[in-house]
Amino acid sequence: MKEQSTSVASLERQLKKHSKAAKLEVWGRVVSFSALVLIVAVVVAIIGFVASKGIATFTTNHVSLWDFLTGKNWNPGIKDAHGKPEVGALSMIVGSFLITILSALIATPFAIGTAVFMNEISPNRGAKILRPVTELLVGIPSVVYGFIGLSVVVPFTRSVFGGSGFGILSGTFVLFVMVLPTVTSMSADALRAVPRFYREASLALGATQWQTIYKVVLRAATPGLMTAVVFGMARAFGEALAVQMVIGNAALMPHSLVDPAATLTSVLTTGIGNTVMGSLQNNALWSLALVLLLMSLVFNLIVRLIGRKGRLQ
C-alpha cells in the first residue's frame, strides 16, 4: 500500500516536471509573438505617421480636401489669385491611374498567354527556361528599368509617336515590362492551382486542349488571375523611380500620352528633398503619400475580396 503511494507520487513528479522541450516551446512562442508585435507596431506607426502628416495640409494649412482632389494646378509654394496655395493633385492622380491601367491592360494578355504556355502547352520548357527567366525579371532593380527606359524607350517613343518622348506612354511601356513578370508568375501559380482532374475530365469528354484551357482551366483560375492583375496594378501604382526617369515630371493635366506628365510617386521622389519639414510644401507631399497609401490599401482590399469570392465558388 505504501509502496503504491510512493510510485504514484514519483509518477506525478515525473509528469509535472517541465522538460527542456516544454520550456523551449514557451520560449519559441514568446519569440514568434514578439516578432508579430514588432511588425504590427511598425505598420501602425507608418500609417499613423503618414496620416498625421498628410492630414496637416487640411488641418494646419486649411486647404480644402475638394481643392486638393480636384485642383489641376500643383505649385505648393505659390498662392493663386484668391490667396489660396496651389495644391491641386488631380493631374498626378490622373497620371497615376492612367499609367497603372494602361500598363495593366497591355501586360495582362501577355502575362496570361505566357502563363498558359508555361503551364499547359509546354510545361517542360516552361519549368526549365521561362520560370527562371520571369523570376529573374522580378529581381531586377527598378533603377535599371528606368535607365533602359531613358535610353531606349524614350527615344523610341519620340521617333514613333512624336512629342519629346517623355510622358505617360513611355512610362506605360516601362511599367509593362516591370509588372509583366509579377503578373506572369502569379498567373502561372493560379493556373497550377487548378486541379489536374478538371483537365482530364474535359479531355475525356472530347474537348481539345485549347477548349480545355479556355472553357475549364482559365474559368477555374479566374479569381487567381484577377488577383495577379491587381497585384500587378498595385506594383505599377507604387513604382516611383523608373517612372520618374521617363515620364517628364511636369505636374500638368496630361492632354496626350506623349506629353510630359507626373504621377503621385514621381512628384514625391523629385520633391521630397527640396522642402522643409512642417512647411505647406512638405505637408502637401505627405498628403500625396497618404493618397498612395490609401490606394495600396484599396488594392489589398480588392485582392482579399476576390480571394473570398473565389473560395465561395
Binding site: F197, E200, S202, L205, G206, Q211
Partner: protein
C-alpha cells in the same frame, strides 16, 4: 480476326496464363487491343495487353495496385498520350485508333471515360452535363434541355436534381457527383464507357446505386471498368481480366474467373490470399 476462342499458352515466357477472348455472336467485339505495350519513360508499365471487349457487356479489370490495369484503361482512349508511350494496336470497330493521324478528340467522344474521383466542374449541374454538347456545337435550348434530361435520367440522377439544375455541382454528395460525371460522359452518346475505379471514393449505398446504374447502362453502352472491389466485379461484369505486374494473366467470363480460376495467382487474388 477478333474471334479467338483458343486458350493461349505462352511458351516464350514461363508465366502461367489463361486467356479466353469473348465469343458470343449476340455481343460482337467492338474494341480489341493487340500487342499493346505502355512505357513511362524507359520503364515498361504494361508488357502485353491483348484483350477483346464484347458489345453491350461489362468487362471488369481487376488486379493488385500497380498491376497496370488503370494504365491499360487510360490507354484505350489515349488519355496517356502526354505522359506515356503506347505501342501496339487499339482496334475500335476495325480501325486502329492508336495511330498518330487519329483525331483523339473525335475518338474520345466515342470512347468516354469516368474517373476514380468524382470530378464535376465548378459549374451548375446543367452546365456540367451540357459541357461536351456545347463544345460539339449543340446550342438550341430545347435540344440541350432534352439531352441533359435524358443523360441525367440514364445516370439515375434526374429525380434528385431536376428542381435545381442551376445549383453548383460542387454541392452534390460523392455518389451524386459520380453519377453526374457519368451523365456528363454519356451526354455525347459514346459507344464505349471506360470507368476507372468509379466507386472507390463512395460509400456502400452509393456504390450499390452506381452498380444498378451501370447494369442499366449496359443495354446501350459497352462498359469497361477497373475495380479493386472483387465483389463488384463478380456482381456486375460478364467478363473479367486479371492483371498482375503489367501483364494480363487470366481473361475469361466472370463466372469462370471467380469460381474456377485456372491460374494460381488469380485464384489467390480472388480468394483474398494476396493483393
Amino acid at each position: 480476326m477478333f474471334v479467338n476462342n483458343d486458350v493461349q499458352t505462352n511458351a516464350n515466357d514461363m508465366l502461367e496464363r489463361h486467356i479466353v477472348q469473348p465469343n458470343d455472336p449476340q455481343h460482337p467485339i467492338v474494341l480489341a487491343t493487340e500487342d499493346l505495350h505502355v512505357f513511362y519513360g524507359k520503364s515498361e508499365a504494361l508488357f502485353e495487353g491483348d484483350l477483346q471487349f464484347a458489345q453491350n457487356q461489362i468487362t471488369a479489370l481487376i488486379g493488385p495496385s500497380g498491376s497496370g490495369k488503370s494504365t491499360y484503361l487510360r490507354s484505350l482512349n489515349r488519355m496517356n498520350d502526354r505522359i506515356a508511350t503506347v505501342k501496339g494496336r487499339i482496334m475500335y470497330r476495325g480501325v486502329d485508333v492508336n495511330q498518330p493521324d487519329i483525331d483523339v478528340y473525335e475518338m474520345r467522344r466515342r470512347i468516354g471515360m469516368v474517373f476514380q474521383r468524382p470530378n464535376p466542374f465548378a459549374k451548375s449541374i446543367y452546365d456540367n452535363v451540357a459541357f461536351a454538347l456545347r463544345l460539339r456545337g449543340v446550342t438550341g435550348k430545347k435540344k440541350l434541355d432534352e439531352l441533359v434530361e435524358v443523360s441525367l435520367r440514364q445516370a439515375a440522377l434526374w429525380d434528385q436534381v431536376k428542381d435545381d439544375l442551376g445549383r453548383s455541382a460542387l454541392g452534390l454528395s460523392g455518389g451524386q457527383a459520380q453519377r453526374l460525371c457519368i451523365a456528363r460522359a454519356i451526354a455525347l452518346k459514346p459507344d464505349i464507357l471506360l470507368l476507372d475505379e468509379p466507386a472507390s471514393a463512395l460509400d456502400p449505398v452509393s456504390t450499390s446505386q452506381l452498380e444498378d446504374t451501370l447494369l442499366k447502362l449496359k443495354e446501350q453502352y459497352t462498359i469497361i471498368i477497373v475495380t479493386h472491389n472483387m465483389q463488384q466485379a463478380a456482381r456486375i461484369s460478364e467478363y473479367t481480366a486479371f492483371f498482375n505486374q503489367g501483364r494480363v494473366l487470366e481473361y475469361d467470363t466472370t463466372s469462370h474467373i471467380f469460381t474456377n480460376p485456372r491460374v494460381q495467382i488469380t485464384s489467390d487474388y480472388v480468394s483474398g490470399n494476396f493483393g
